[in-house]
């Protein structure tokens, strides 16, 4: 699928980069100052690795498989690769990972992806269409519900930004934002801010005090109007909206030469 970014023309002065590289770089910048990140493989892994090599050398990544402090000799293909286990600082059992690390409140930022996201950052990873007769069956929650309910905040990376992925109403709410959770079950305690940051192929949304996702920056070559057209809800645009600074030569060099020379995730 051709993305909007690839069709847009970048100014001649900035280096050429792919959507994957842009998403990894922008995600990395938002990780500055964060300590412990729960992230799966793919773009979040690249973002954390880039942060470790640039702005945030102390940042730690916790994998769903229980691996913490991984020092893999090569980029893993799955969250449970043998290369992640060898040389790791610890491999936690599942009750420790989910019960104590996540539920215990140790995670600063959880990274999630989704097929659909709504205005307040609730996510659908279950089905397109009705649950009992879906047109597309998606994988399901996995640990996403727990990551959403227990992280201090959640970053969402959305490779595709259009009205079928940024929707007014989810087909199925797999992982509710804390606001949606409190509305449904006011007596069940929630933790954290839910989705605070969405990094898409078009721009970045950040949440306001009410938890609404607002357009904070647009990537170069993208217009605010384009974001409005491709988003299924009326987009609130921050007064401070800016153009996302493009990836620097150094960020691209780290990603391409140091972190993912085999192009496992960079496409």
């Amino acid at each position: 699928m051709t993305s909007v970014i690839e069709k847009a023309t970048a100014p001649a002065s900035s280096p050429a980069y792919t959507v994957s590289e842009l998403l990894a770089v922008v995600s990395c910048r938002y990780l500055q100052g964060k300590r412990r990140v729960f992230a799966g493989i793919g773009l979040p892994t690249l973002a954390v690795a880039l942060a470790q090599k640039s702005t945030s050398p102390d940042i730690e990544q916790v994998y769903e498989s229980g691996v913490c402090g991984a020092h893999p000799p090569k980029l893993p293909e799955t969250i449970a690769d043998a290369s992640l286990a060898t040389g790791a600082e610890t491999i936690l059992t599942m009750p420790v990972l989910f019960g104590y690390v996540l539920q215990g409140g140790w995670i600063d930022v959880g990274f999630l992806g989704a097929a659909q996201i709504d205005r307040f950052g609730s996510l659908n990873t279950s089905v397109i269409g009705p649950w009992d007769a879906p047109t597309v069956r998606l994988p399901g929650s996995g640990g996403a519900i727990e990551v959403m309910a227990n992280s201090q905040e959640v970053f969402v990376v959305m490779r595709r930004h259009n009205t079928t992925s940024f929707v007014r109403e989810l087909d199925f709410c797999t992982s509710p934002s804390p606001i949606a959770a409190r509305r449904a079950d006011p007596k069940v305690p929630t933790r954290g801010a839910g989705v605070t940051t969405v990094i898409s192929e078009l721009g970045v949304f950040t949440s306001d005090a009410e938890g609404e996702l607002c357009l904070a920056s647009i990537h170069e070559g993208v217009t605010v109007e384009q974001v409005r057209e491709q988003t299924g809800w009326p987009v609130k645009v921050l007064d401070s909206v800016t153009v996302t600074p493009p990836p620097t030569e150094e960020e691209l060099r780290l990603l391409r030469d140091d972190i993912d020379p085999g192009r496992v995730y960079l496409r």
């Binding site: 043998a82 879906p134 519900i145 309910a149």
Partner: protein, 302 residues
Amino acid sequence: MFSLQNAIGTFVSDGDVVALEGFTHLIPFAAGHEIIRQRVKGLTLVRMTPDIIADQMVAAGCVDTMVFAFTGNSSVGSLYAVRRAIESNGTGGLKLEEYSHYGLLARYQAGAAGIPFMPVRSYAGSDLVGINPQLRKVASPYEEDVETYVVPALNPDVAIIHAQRADRHGNVQSWGILGPQQEVAFASKRTILLVEEIVDDDIIRSDPNRTLIPGFVVDAVVECKYGAHPSFAQGYYDRDNDFYRSWSAISKDPQRLQAWIQEWIHETGGHEGYLTKLGEDFFHRLTPTPHLSSPVNYGSVL
């Protein structure tokens, strides 16, 4: 000590609730294949992450109901037999009971501990509550105006797990990513254990803290070298990523999928035949360089 054929034949019956566990690592593929070979029917398959083994068992007609938290083939494609059995334009017929990772894990924990249910911090506001009546909310007996979601204990008829090594009594040692194996073994009425190798008692006793599951929980010990292929066994063989990547194309075409099951499961006659068909040198490229842990000193009475 059992043969694989005998263990499945003895402990797995039509209509059972069977938990096959292993979180990407140590997936008991050989046992799943043997269930298909013995044409077991009407199973409730419990698995946190139904992946290729679930696709194969669903395609072979072994599974009526799937209890799960995440069903997919990692990042390398779809499970088309599972999807055909669920999606509106498919063949239908697969009943689902859907959780999240911790929800299903907590069901094993409650089952293992002999308590009726387990509270979890998630599920408030999730549509899973609407489609899964097992997800219920209770008032905290300790705090005013506080509620929590709970999941019920799960005690599968059979747990099937794979590990690196055990002694002949079934004391299981495993390392690397541990998955929910310990929880599901304690939760289940019967446990079938497959291992890469049966080792001398002395080896197990040299490092008792590494024993994940005591022998008294295990009903059948099966020595089954390479029995987790195409998944991996830390320190023994790596994941066969080529096979994982090839699965989508096989699974997408129902005829090709049935032909694959016929060729690689039924016609091989057993795990030995499967290994023979893979070829003598097959695992060379998947064998990792040794990377040994430093021994710890348990000390001994003077």
